[in-house]
Structures are given as C-alpha cells and as structure tokens.
Subunit: 254 residues, 4 copies
C-alpha cells in the first residue's frame, strides 16, 4: 500500500449527495456531530479508507480483535439530498498526506456526481458559553447571504481551518464544488457535545431536514458535570496557591 | 536503493508456514523470544532486508567488520508448520516506511503460500509481576474462542499495537491472512526475558510444539538481579529526597 | 494534487521579464516591498500556485469566504523590462518542497523567456539603524562591479540565504539565468517597512524605474511608534529586574 | 531537480581509483583530511553534486557571489591508484536522502570501474589525547589482518558509523566493493586537525603514498592554543561556581 486506498463495500447510486465531514478536531465537535448523525440516519458503511499516512498502529477492540486505523464513508438516502458521511480515527499529520487523502476522497465524491460539501468542526474561543453559536466559512461569496439566513455567523471567525475540514472545501472549490465549514463555538480544551448539538441543528435547517439529537443531549449533561468537577478542582488548586481563579483559568487545561 | 529490498540467500519451498515476528519493541519481549527461537530451532537465514527507511548507519562489530542495519528472515522446517522468523535491528520510524517494509515482507510471505502470522510483543503495565500473563489480539473474531484455550487473555489489553507487530496483522488481514499478536505482560521500562519465556511457552502450546527455554531462563535471573539493584538505588535516591518511594516509582525509569 | 501546480489565469507575452520575488522572510522586508510594488505598478494577477507542500489549511477571510494557502504571480508591463512578481502566504518548509516549488516557478519563468531574477529579503543584524543599507549577493562575479554602482553593498553579508530568495537564484544560475538578491538591513525581530522602502529605492535605480513609496513610508512611521513603545516597555521591565537595559536587549524579542 | 544530480565538468578515464570520502562529521576530522589532500595532490574538480535533500539555502561568498550548497568530486592521478575525493558542505539529514545521495555517488564510482573505498571520520571519545590513534572498520573480514599492519586498530571502536562514511561502505559492499572507514581518535567537541593529520598519515601508509601534512600541522598549533584558552575559561567558570573542574568537563562543550 503506497497510496491512500478506498475499499468499496457497497456500490450506491447517489442523488444530489452532500459530503458531510466530521473527523477528529477542536473539541471533537465535528466528530461527535457526524458520528451521531450516522446513527440517527441509520447510515450504511459503503467504503473504508486506509492510508500509509495514518499512524502505523492497529487498534485493539474489547472483543479481542484488532483493526487498522482507518476512515469510513457512510451513506444515507433521503428525499432531499443523499448524505455521504466521512468519519474515522485520525487526520493525517503532514501536509502532503492531507492533500493526498482529501484528494482521493474528492475523487470518489466527484465520481458519485457530488457537488456539495459541508465540513463540521469546532471554533475554539477559550471560553465556555451557555448557548454556542455556529460560525461559517464558505467556498464562494454568493453563498454567504444565503447561508446567513440559517443563523450561521460569517466573517467573525478568524485565522485558519486546519485539516480535512478546510482542505476538502479548498480543494473541492478548485474542482468546481461548493460548500461551507460549520464551526460550533467551543472552549477548545474540552470535548463538547453541546456545540455538536448546535452544529447539527444548524445543519438540519440548512438541509431542510429534522435531526433527532436526544442521544447527544444526554452526553451534554454528563459533560457539564465533568467540567464543573474540573472547575471546582482547578479553583481549589488555585486557592491553595493563594491567587484568584475563575473559569478563565481553564483555558490552559488540556 | 529507493525501496525496501529483500535479498534472498536460499530458496526454500515452505509447507504451511507461520510468520513469527520479533522486532525491537516494548521490553524487547518479542525480540528476545524470536532471537531465542531461531537458535532453539536451528533456523537458517534465508533472506536479508535492507531499506532506505532504516537509520543511515552501519554497525561496527567486534571483529572489526561493519555491516548495514537490516532485518533478517530465518527458516525452520517442522512436521506441523514450517516457521519463518522475522528479526532484526530496528523498526522503521515513519508510517510510510512501516507500511512499505511490512508490505514487502507480506509480499514475500504470500509468495511462499503463507497465511498465518504470529507477532510477538510486550504489553507494558508499569508494574513488575512474578508470573507474566500473555495477552492476545486476533485478526478475526472467530479466532478468539479458539486461542483463548491456550491461556491467552483476549479483550483486556487496551489501546494500540504500534509497528510491525500490529501492521503485519492489519495489512495481512486485508490480504486474507489470519493471525494474532501475543503480548507478554511486562513493566515496560526493563528488558524482560521472563515475559519472553512466557510468550514462547504460549506460542509452543498454540503451535503444538515444545520449545526449550533454558538459555533464556538464565537471562531472567541476571535480569532480576539487575532490576533489584536498580530498585535499591532508586529507593535510596528517593529517601535522600525525603519522600516515600516504592517499586511503583520505577515506572518512570527508562 | 501530488505536485506543486501553477494555475494560469491570463496568458501574457512578456518582453525581457524580470522575476521579482518577495515571499515572507526576515523582517518581512521582501514581502512588504513586493506587495507594495504590485499595487504601485497596478500589476495584474496572471497565475496562482498551489502545493501539497504548503500548510494543510485554508484561510478565513473577513468576507466569510475561505481560500487555499497559495503563492501568486503578478504581471506589469513596462517600457524597459516587464515585471513578474512572486508573492504569497508562505514558504515551503522542507528542502524537497523548496526545490520543487522554486523549480516549477523557474520552469514557468523560463517558458516566458525569462533570464533575470531579483529576490528581495532582509538581512538581520540585531540592531536598529536610522538609514538601512542594502546588501547584495549575485549569481555571477562579473555582476558585482556593475551592481555596486547602485549603492548595493557586496561581500559584507555573511552566511546563507534561506528559502526562495536564495534557491531561485541558485537554481536559476544552473539554468543559465542571472540575478541578485537584495537584502535590506534590518533588526530581524520586527516587521520593517523602512528597510523595504530602502530595498525598493535600490531596485528602482537598478531597473532604471521610479517607484512611488509614499504608502509604504506611512507604515514606517506607524512601525517606529510601535517599536518605541516596545522599547519603553522592555526598558521598564529591565529596570524592574534591576539590571541595565538598552535597545540591544530587543534583539531577543520575537 | 527531483533527485540528486551529478554535474560532470570533466571526463576522466581512471585507473584503479580509490574513492576517498571526507564530508562533515565528528571533529571535522574527515573533512579536514580530505580537503587537505585535495590541495596536497593538486586534485582537479571533475563533478559537482546538487540535491533537493540538501538544505534549501545558498551560501554567500566574500566575493559577493552566492553558490548552491553542494558536494564535489576531485580527481588526482597517481602511479599506484587514481584518487577520487568526495568533499562538500553537508550531509543529507534523512535516511532516505542519505541512501539516495550515496547510491548516486556509488553509481558514478562504479561507472569508473571503482572497487575500493576509504571513508575518513572521527571517533569521539570525550577525551583529549597527545597522540591520536586511528581506528578502522572494514567491509570484509579478510581485510582486517591486512589493514592491521598499517597501525590501524580494529574491533575497539563501538556503536555505529553514521552518514556517508558508513553508508558508502555498507552500500558499496552490497555492490561487491571493498574498503574501510578510518576513524581518527578525537574528543568530539572540537575541530581536530591533529586527528586529521594522524588519519592522513595512516592513509598514506595504506596507499603506499607519501602525503605532505605541513599546512595541516600549522592548524594543529592554532587549534591547541584555542582549546587551552577554552579550558582556562571553563576552569575559571567552574571555580567561580565553587566546584572542581578538569579537562573532563570539556566533554559537554559544543
């Protein structure tokens, strides 16, 4: 295996498919959202992606079986748009690897007639918020006013989008595809299911679909408890060192 | 030399060969076991593997002669299964290199009609034990109950198997091969011949062969003495720093 | 995209073109100078360069639109020499990438009949000066006396020229091209528009052209204010630590 | 330039050539020796080696001219053996690059009918000695007794020979070539012309040639003075810190 390889398990004829990416990234927002949607949509795995650019490891499962590090493509049909989900264990580390892996995925998507991409990620602010906003960055200027209607905030997020969430759109655009990156507002140092719920709801409005997020909301409560415990500990520790401490201090916890 | 190259010294026609890997890794458990078995079986070197992905060094021998860094394949015939051992100086460092080297080895093995792989490694727990257990991870679910009979513990080891011990099985599986990784329980910070003995005994049961481990057991005693000396030193040092110390502290010694 | 790719937007027939490089480097001197000249000359973008060797990121713009990391080629015609500017976001990090990217740019330039290259950079001295000098390094010995007339100082700058500013000339020379690197004297720890102005003026003399630097000079004043503020702060901090401090201390600020 | 390239300046028909390598390494022993021999033999540059695996820099000369980072091949005829010297600025950093560069050099050497290689290096001991010994490591066992006659010490140096000094011999051996690495005993933290002189004298005995080392011996005296000054400084510094200090402390100066 010299190159990234897509092993196809099931051939599907897709109608107006949207590629929805949710690989590991900031706050695991994109990964949580996409993994949830696959279950919610009862999507079917149609392909597995292996690559010599992934870590040279196999993962041990509870069952005593090992498996390669991999990405996966799941498919769910729908009356409006068919959905193709990209999820998995890792992001390639080097630039060359990212270009190759994302390029191969776009080759596959283009062969299905795919033209629309939505990538899901987190936008780290170093702060915790009660109601996470959802930021957007689009491939084309004309899309900004259209998408703004769905309560997506454009132009406020700064800097770069690193990895697949950025490159799929950047490389896709060079091939004539359209799309946007949805970034759920998040602290950046915590796994953030609440931000994933916000992203899913925004995506639902965008696609004109209604997604059930009950299962993910349950994780939000667990997460909140964990964070409050962490904050209490950090606060005690800070008091022990006789200096003022507040939630801002958590910015540096990873 | 642009690619990993296998130089064949002796052509052999193998019967139902099992590939047994023992390259350097945690506690050198796999390397100790495989190197021992090569002597015990009087196995013959049939091939040498060179690669531009190995360190750019040559090794000086006591004889005044230098030699390339390399991997080696040894062959031993047997009434049940022929054995093909993979041993050597190093593991490639990058993912791309690991995929290439292990891929070439599987090419060679497949050309011999090989279908079964056992990789040997250590499973680091940060603790020393009197009687090391042997953990397993298999390529296929159906193998788990079969192998469990040989006193191999499945489903308890967690995380990843890094390097050749994992990739040979992961890549092998994609080619229709079967096998498992045997991981001798080990501290992780010491060279551990005792864990290697346990692994060899388990492998013997698995293959229905009886291996003599006398020579390796001698090393166990040497090793124990060395570790006790280290513990005593660490304990003195810890006392000098006026804080409690016990064998657990050794987890961090490398 | 496996290799660096030049996407041509506009075909131009160039007359005696000079390639002028100003990618990010020491003090951003080259980048400031080249970006300014593009505006001053009303140069037109004729090509965009993408590469898997650039960081695997897309950049978010204020407009809410994202774009690939890239280099750009701008063209301006002139009665003396046509000018081809190379500017952009980044320099490739690895040697192999630098050789590939600069090699492709020289392929493009050679196809336009290009034979002359001027690269712009900064020469870091760790000191601030009122009137920055401009150092030079040429591809051929015979050019040194000719260029010396334009108030360019040869033979005083030491060490290496890293990145595109050096490689374009080094690789260009191997293809029979001529040129020089103009290095504006700069501290090295600050963005330095003053040094960029000095470089532009030198380049103007060299090309027999008159460049308006008014816009860039405005930045010089801003920059000076910022640096004086920094110096004041550093001086206070140094006093607080009860040790002597002067402008020299700023050498280590980055 | 995608691969290492050898630009030939002068075609030569060589008689029984010996390849003598002296690239930068421990104590610069090999580089000093080979650079000296090129002058002493009045050897002529016959080829230049460029590579995308060398640092992406150009070097500024005192003349105001820049040049690529490079390796060079020099040729000197002789009644016994023609000599082909390999010298230059750098060693490639990665393994893949070392294999490619050294492989290309061996291709060139093989095309000249070359079969003998002597690589020159330093063997770092962390100690300064009055009379440096010269250690050896040979490609073949049968060479050890022969070479031992020339006052070369075999079997005492341990570990690895890193870079071109090792790989040229290791890769050369796989092509049926013979040779040895001569390692001048050296501290390892200083440039060591004295060790280079010892290596040259040994090489002279080996080749049955008489080399004049007067110019290099002058550098030895300069070097000694510098080291004594360093020792005095280190000793003062150590006294200031009120702890015992001796020449052993210099092991850590780089």
């Amino acid at each position: 295996m010299k190159e990234t390889t897509i092993v196809i398990h099931k051939k599907v004829k897709m109608k107006k498919p949207v590629l929805i990416e949710g690989l590991p990234g900031i706050g695991l927002v994109g990964k949580l959202a996409a993994d949830h949607l696959i279950k919610e949509r009862k999507a079917v795995r149609i392909a597995t992606i292996y690559s010599p650019h992934f870590p040279h490891q196999v993962i041990m499962r509870k069952s005593g079986v090992l498996r390669m590090v991999r990405l996966k493509l799941y498919y769910a049909s729908s009356s409006k748009h068919d959905l193709l989900f990209l999820v998995g264990d890792v992001q390639p580390i080097t630039s060359e690897a990212q270009y190759e892996v994302n390029g191969k995925i776009l080759d596959f998507f283009a062969a299905q007639g795919g033209k629309w991409i939505v990538t899901l990620g987190g936008y780290g602010t170093g702060k915790r918020v009660e109601v996470p906003r959802v930021f957007g960055a689009a491939t084309h200027k004309k899309l900004v006013p259209t998408y703004s209607k769905y309560n997506i905030i454009f132009g406020e997020s700064k800097g770069s989008i690193v990895g697949a969430a950025g490159l799929l759109l950047g490389l896709g655009r060079l091939r004539g595809m359209h799309g946007l990156c949805l970034m759920g507002e998040t602290h950046g140092s915590y796994v953030d299911p609440k931000s994933a719920v916000a992203s899913i709801e925004t995506l639902g409005r965008l696609l004109g679909m209604k997604f059930d997020t009950t299962a993910l909301k349950a994780k939000v409560e667990e997460g909140e408890k964990f964070i409050k415990k962490m904050e209490a500990k950090a606060s005690e520790a800070a008091m022990a060192e006789s200096r003022p401490a507040g939630p801002e201090d958590l910015t540096y916890i990873r």
